[in-house]
Amino acid sequence: MTRRLFPVLAGLSLLFFVGAPVLIVRAPYESTMGLVQKIFYFHFAGWMAMFLAIFVLGIASIIFLFRRIRSADQLAVAAAEQAVIFGLIGLITGPLWGVKAWGVWWQWDARLTMAVILELILVAYLLLRQYGGPGSDRLAAGLGIFAMANVPFLYISTEIWRTVHPRTSVVPTLPVDFGLPLWWSVAGFVVICLAMLSARRRLEEQRATLDELYLALEDEA
């Protein structure tokens, strides 16, 4: 199924990719932030793709842990890596925005803090898979479920944690004209994320097949 899905997704992401610059350039120039405001199209979209990937990671982990379906585990690995990548986009563009808006690279902004922690959890997931040794796939699935369950708690706790302190900045509220390019970018990132997910999962599947072939070859001997 994924074999047919991938070209479609790849084509779609190309469409979004080509369209995005046009829409972003034509979007109105924000007065206080200037050109830097355009970062927002990446920043927000990266976020959305990251959440999608974490959600996929959690669900795939549950399926693998309780149904022992191999391909769910392959999807989970793919999703964790995607989440790290899109999280990184958010983490790089966040401070770039921050230095213009707040004058400092890092501000203990609730969303940014939450992003860092999520990124840590996801990297921990990859570390576990890397260094956990044989059988770490099931342990990683356990962690994947915990990662997904953590999202609402992180959201709430960082949000309240920050609001009890005085707020130093107000993120400019976007007029309607910014809406179309923004959601276009979000859709673009989501489609790219899905395309990479399906490609990455397929790679993992082929690796497993290759392992099996090696084993079968040994059995022949």
């Binding site: 842990l65 309780f66 922690i117 840590l120 959890i121 921990a124 570390l127 576990l128 260094y131 956990g132 040794g133 059988g135 770490s136 099931r138 342990l139 699935a141 356990g142 962690l143 479920i145 915990f146 990662a147 369950a149 953590n150 708690f153 992180l154 709430i156 706790s157 960082t158 309240i160 944690w161 009890v164």
Partner: protein, 227 residues
């Protein structure tokens, strides 16, 4: 159900008995927690006075660090001579084993926290006895949240090679919400005029966290522990 509770009790009693023989975990964990408080005291005390709001942070960091140490030790004991597999082979509901290990740890951490809290209160002039029950609720719920995730993680890491490093690497990011809630709640509580509604909010959030993660841990323990 009675059988379930019986198994929990058996595991707790076994752990307490082992601990009563050499007191290794209690002594080392306690000493480590006290050292933590001292180290942070050097970092956060300026000109004889603690930096604003440092006390709550020091308290919770000491709890988290000492908790990690205790978690590592508790399962190193089960790993030695492969005792954990012996437990898993017993014809019992495996979540009962998890709950048993968790309860033992909570008892140990309760003793450690008693000392650490008193120490922090003394050294950082925290108004500990203004709202003792609210403080107790924050500590108990925070520790439960931390330990319920930690017990699952260290149990599952028993099988892996680099467990000593992986435990904190996995545990700290996942339990950061507990730390945020615990530290913030304690901080508010230790203000001269505490905003009790805020304390209430943090406490309820901790309760919610505990409920979700304890359920998740009980649910995933069985499949995660199967090799």
């Amino acid at each position: 159900m009675t059988r379930f509770l019986q198994v929990v009790w058996l595991v707790v009693r076994k752990d307490l008995r082992v601990e009563s023989r050499n007191k290794e975990m209690l002594v080392t964990t306690l000493f480590f927690a006290v050292s933590c408080v001292m180290v942070f005291a050097f970092a956060f005390v300026r000109g004889g006075r603690a930096v604003d709001g440092a006390a709550a942070g020091v308290l919770w960091i000491a709890v988290a660090f000492a908790g990690t140490l205790a978690l590592g030790r508790a399962f190193e004991r089960e790993r030695y001579q492969d005792a954990l597999r012996g437990l898993l082979l017993a014809p019992v509901d495996r979540p009962a084993i998890y709950l048993g290990k968790l309860s033992g740890l909570l008892l140990l951490l309760a003793v450690v926290e008693l000392v650490v809290v008193l120490m922090v209160a003394l050294m950082f002039q925290a108004p500990l006895f203004e709202h003792p029950f609210r403080m107790l609720a924050l500590l108990a719920l925070g520790t439960l949240g931390f330990a319920s995730v930690g017990t699952l993680f260290s149990a599952m890491l028993v099988r892996t090679r680099s467990r000593a490093v992986l435990l904190p690497v996995l545990l700290y990011p996942v339990t950061i919400p507990v730390l945020i809630m615990g530290v913030s709640g304690t901080n508010v509580l230790w203000q001269p005029e505490p905003d009790l509604a805020m304390v209430q909010l943090w406490t309820s959030l901790l309760l919610f966290f505990d409920a979700v993660f304890l359920t998740l841990a009980l649910w995933t323990f069985e499949p995660v522990m199967t090799e």
